[in-house]
Symmetry: C2
Subunit: 454 residues, 2 copies
């Protein structure tokens, strides 16, 4: 029996898609997502296990919301795409336990809407919330703007159901907060980008929704960054929810891209920080944020600050930050990066990178990021000759290697795009230990082949 017929006999006609049906679907960010030309939609872990046993040795490419930015969903002919879109049930919301049990195909927005009536939420929030799936967020250990407060996706995962390359199903869905009963196997699969196992179900930890959020825009000299942050942390404790940052050129770009004429803070040589603090009510939250900022203003640690006094003012501040999402979307040529450094290294790195790019004609560096987490999103725009990616990569990653402990991927992952950068950055024993993990769980290299490890 032909493979496609065998798969249809397992899953039903409607759940095995060939090239023609696939071509009607949005490929998402990675334009080669659907090149395999064959996609299955198993209903649950058992069906997925049956698919894996029916396709020995075949390359399997798991796909969630297709919002990844590093070609982690690339596929090619001869491979089989697995979609989790039918595993879209929220099976349980348990306010007493503070947990939810959801299918891998549920989107973050769907989950959030279901949790809202309970006054609960998942900790992680990302811009792609409408389309990104919980399974994809677990497999890529998603980050976003609230990592400072809630950690990355890993921190919110209580349990998992995982299907291994050989079709074995691991039920690790126990939602316990404390469970030292042998190895915590779920940790192996979180953030492994679908190369070690396929996540089909997630037990998520839930958090109380903040009652009120105060937002401020702050101007600060780069060199004051690493002294200002611990002061903020000490003053606001766990109410400190976000420290987003924009370097001057990026602030100008973002404000302009949003068509803002009146800026909340005048441009200056320094950085611009978007701060958020939680509180029991709007006024208390604003007062706490103000109390944290005033001393820093008085002693000159920060140059200027404005605290949003209304939803409208808050929206304006965030519009500038979100203008960063538009960088390059107008088709301007450029390359984009997602690196991570120690807080004290952030601005020195940006300065060193600008120096390294001085020799590259027409290259300008736009920098914003989750500064509180040490995460920079860099856009190197090409207003002149189209320098090849390798040349620009060399400037970005070569400069990064000068800063001990820097990472070539803060939150986007490796996929195919960052293979070379990861290999160059990894000590041999670390790479060997990664390969040992792959060999242990996917000896035939079936699961998302080529991603993460090459």
């Amino acid at each position: 029996m032909a493979l496609i017929d065998e798969l249809r006999s397992l899953l039903g006609e409607a759940h095995v898609l060939g090239p023609e049906k696939l071509s009607l679907r949005d490929p998402g960010w990675c334009k080669t997502s659907q090149a395999a030309g064959l996609l299955v939609r198993p209903a649950d872990a058992a069906e997925l296990a049956a698919v894996l046993t029916a396709t020995p040795g075949m390359g399997i490419v798991p796909q969630g919301g297709l919002t990844g930015l590093v070609e982690g969903t690339e596929s090619h002919p001869g491979q089989l795409i697995v979609s989790f879109e039918r595993m879209n049930r929220i099976e349980l919301i348990d306010p007493a336990q503070g947990m939810a049990l959801v299918g891998a195909g549920v989107t973050l927005a769907e989950l959030d809407a279901a949790l809202e009536p309970y006054g609960l939420m998942a900790g992680v929030d990302i811009g792609a919330r409408d389309s990104c799936t919980i399974g994809g967020m677990v497999s890529t250990n998603a980050g976003g703007i609230r990592v400072l407060r809630y950690g990355m996706m890993r921190a919110g995962v209580l349990g998992l159901e995982v299907v291994l390359a050989d079709g074995a199903v691991l039920d690790l869905t126990s939602p316990l907060m404390k469970n030292n009963a042998g190895y915590d196997l779920k940790q192996v699969f979180i953030g492994s980008e679908g190369t070690l196992g396929l996540v089909t179900k997630v037990a998520l930890r839930l958090f109380p929704r903040p009652k009120a959020i105060a937002t401020a825009l702050v101007g600060i000299a780069p060199e004051a960054l690493s002294s200002f942050m611990p002061r903020l942390r000490a003053a606001l404790g766990d109410d400190l929810a976000a420290i987003e940052g924009m370097w001057p050129a990026c602030y100008r770009y973002c404000a302009a891209s949003q068509g803002l004429t009146r800026l909340p803070l005048a441009e200056g040589p320094g950085l611009f920080l978007t701060l958020e603090a939680f509180g029991p009510d709007d006024q208390t939250a604003r007062e706490a944020l103000e109390a944290a900022l005033v001393p820093a203003l008085e002693d000159g640690t920060i140059k200027d600050a404005v605290i949003a006094q209304s939803e409208a003012e808050r929206a304006t501040i965030w519009r500038i930050r979100e203008g960063g999402g538009l960088i390059g979307s107008g088709g301007e040529p450029g390359y984009h990066y997602d690196v991570s450094l120690k807080l004290a290294d952030l601005d020195p790195y940006v300065q060193a990178l600008e120096a390294a790019c001085a020799g590259l004609e027409g290259v300008s560096v736009l920098v914003l990021g989750h500064v509180g987490d040490g995460n920079l999103h860099l856009s190197l725009m090409l207003d002149g000759p189209l320098h090849p990616r390798e040349v620009v990569d060399a400037a970005v990653y070569g400069t990064l290697r000068q800063f001990q402990g820097g990472s070539v991927s803060a939150e986007h992952g490796i996929g195919l795009e960052k293979l070379a950068a990861l290999k160059a950055a990894q000590p041999a024993p670390v790479r060997a230990a990664m390969l040992a993990l792959k060999a242990a769980y996917d000896p035939e290299n079936r699961l998302n082949p080529g991603k993460v490890l090459g």
Copy 2:
């Protein structure tokens, strides 16, 4: 050259201890810790790696503060004990980054004393703080009384240095908050009880010390537990720091063991909860706790409550809870357990266990635990015939199997003591996946042989 001489040539005479010197050392909780009769004290990862390559195939038993409760430090002749006591340097405290880099042999108390001047602390706190080591806490994924607030040890680990069975040294000490650069290998070693690799250095996330803590003792009917907790969480949010619980018989035992005549709350049929809430100052913290409790008192969800108005009152409340540490220490015969369940299952499990023990002459069940985390510490006391452990185990774990998702070890780990219970509780694919991990990193079964996996 004899092994002992070879080791001495590697580490120096003073750092290789034979039986006579070993016999002068405190074996700690597990009386057979030192039965190997040979202990080395490497100064760092490089020396430890040299020891491993010089002792091919030899069983290695890592030992920290020897405060574990599950025979995870047991050793026997022919094995080599590795002590981390010379890896006792706090290499770095970085308030800006909110991290510390510490040797595996540093005790929690030593670290806490060093962090206090910065107003920072490690999230996890346990009773053994004076002797337990950071490396041991990582290897066992330590829990304690603040898990509700800070998570277990895993949540505070930013990076690790690990020595593998073959002597390879993994430098995973990058302290970044966000680092999706390939597999997060450190997760494999956290909580694996020294069976997959040996932790030599830890990059720890630091947290602001609470400015003030309010403490309450609450009487509650067991059936109200699972409705009361989400209300507490909603009212106090992240200021809710601890929900400890004692069942009535245990409350009586603990109060008596501490020689308390005047009890903060009169005995009753219900449970007693010790609650802690953080706040900016004592009064605000107390008022917030009171505001959270009053409605529950008025609608009868809780029966009675007292909020400590002074350090002395706070100490009294905690003395009762800490009386639990004395259970069995007077030599009364009994068996002790550390299980974990969903919050809604806690009291039903205790009831079911008491029913299961009704047939065992002279067995009484004392229950306390980290109720907010679903973690019960059970003491089954024998006031009559000395029932063999297997019989009592059957009651405890047999009853546990009736509650979906329950765990045979919440925080103590497996060691040797819980091997049988773990095997009985694990589905075959999960056990196979654990063995695959062991085969990948320790194919010769050198590292803490027999522990966790049997």
